[in-house]
Symmetry: C2
Subunit: 257 residues, 2 copies
């Protein structure tokens, strides 16, 4: 039987809210066995850019990353957010190690080509996550803390979506481990009734998803989230859990085959 590994993706909002961060670190430290943390940091990057007189431009939820903005995200994601999390986890007795995709070449990507005439700049689309290297680190007792940055192998850091880093890492680790991938967001899970925060759907399979889609229970922004989760599950990830950052290990929707 494969060992378990739990990958948790948290957004930047959690890192900025000291109370939520403390709760997250506690819950995360309490997860038994091997684990990986993947973080965002977009809000902090936007604030830092503003302090430096740089305007943030988003297209389809993605940051246009020119050279000046690349400096900002490299500093904020790779330095400020990542090292804060690592130091805080060390204080909890978790042997965390921060990684961008460039570190030990764990996530390689290529610069996104023009898309519908839009130049995203130094944004990377992932080609390969190195499950073998990550598992070597994990087996050495290390807990990777992954920043949303990758590299192109030609000396450039690339800004990369944190959800994508989490999915690709989960898929890359699937041959080695029984992988649980946890995406945190602002709700406790996928809701049956958008107005009732406690109406969390406990499990969703492919068949359930088709049914919920047809009857309108699931719609809008939840559709791509669940499609992504199902594609990770199809690629060998054992289960994907969607839940609130302060509810890890407590509640949430489990997406499985």
């Amino acid at each position: 039987m494969k060992e378990k590994v739990t990958i948790v993706k948290v957004g930047g909002a959690v890192v900025e809210d000291d109370q939520q961060l403390e709760q997250l670190l506690c819950d995360f430290s309490a997860i038994e066995g091997r684990k990986v943390l993947v973080h965002g940091g977009g809000r902090k990057a936007t604030k830092m850019a503003e302090r430096l007189g740089l305007e943030t431009q988003m297209v389809n939820g993605r940051r246009i990353t020119d050279t000046a903005m690349l400096e900002v995200v490299t500093m904020v994601y790779g330095g400020l957010v990542n090292k804060t999390l690592v130091a805080r986890l060390q204080a909890q007795g978790v042997n965390a190690l921060g990684l961008t995709g460039a570190d030990a070449n764990v996530v390689k990507s290529h610069k996104r080509p023009l898309k519908d005439g839009i130049d995203y700049g130094w944004v990377g689309d992932v080609d390969h996550a190195d499950g073998q290297m990550l598992s070597n680190l994990i087996e050495a007792g290390i807990m990777p803390v992954m920043a949303p940055l990758t590299h192109d192998g030609e000396g450039h850091i690339l800004n990369t979506n944190a959800d994508t880093i989490a999915s690709e890492t989960a898929k890359a680790l699937a041959p080695y481990y029984d992988v649980t991938l946890i995406f945190t967001f602002e709700k406790k899970g996928v809701l049956r009734n958008a107005d009732d925060d406690d109406s969390v759907i406990p499990t969703i399979t492919h068949a359930d998803f088709e049914r919920y889609k047809a009857d309108g229970t699931i719609s809008g922004g939840m559709l791509p989230k669940i499609e992504n989760a199902l594609s990770a599950v199809d690629a060998g990830v054992s289960r994907v859990i969607i839940t609130h950052a302060t509810a890890i290990g407590k509640t949430g929707t489990v997406i499985m085959r």
Copy 2:
């Protein structure tokens, strides 16, 4: 016989000068066998602080690090400088991995207490570098790139002198390896004649040092540099080389027992 490891410390100036950086990365990549890079970044931190409207205050060559300045050095050293070096080394085929002292708990320190009434703020004095963990990483084919940041084990990142990181790392690796520690600075080595850049003294032992000190050949700022080098050598480091960042492997003064 022990395997060789070479530790190179470079200052921030090199990282800012693209031509010097390219040369350094080339020379560094050409060093055979196991190696570690330790970098500074003070000038870049001072510039970034200025852009953010923060004043840099230095006392005895050390940066006063209040909470705002700690954010800057964490971003600049741990993010911008470290990740730029890692990505550039990866492009040279070197499997670099960036580390602060918090990462995998490789360098632990304590916040410097008031010294002569001076509060240095979030500055760390090193307690312990983990030679075992560093050697595990090195044996896994990884080349550590170390930023001048450590942690106190209680969740705080601490600003730490890069020369100290280099010395402590060298000493911590000495039980495992035949360690060469290279300090780069603005000259090609320790000069016999300050006005002649080519009058590099090839080797200095304890006895040589006493002699050069007595006859005035070595004086001023070179004294503590060589004292530090000799103390590393006394602690088991095989040799310390003092040379220019663009002359690694070519020239320099070798300090040995």
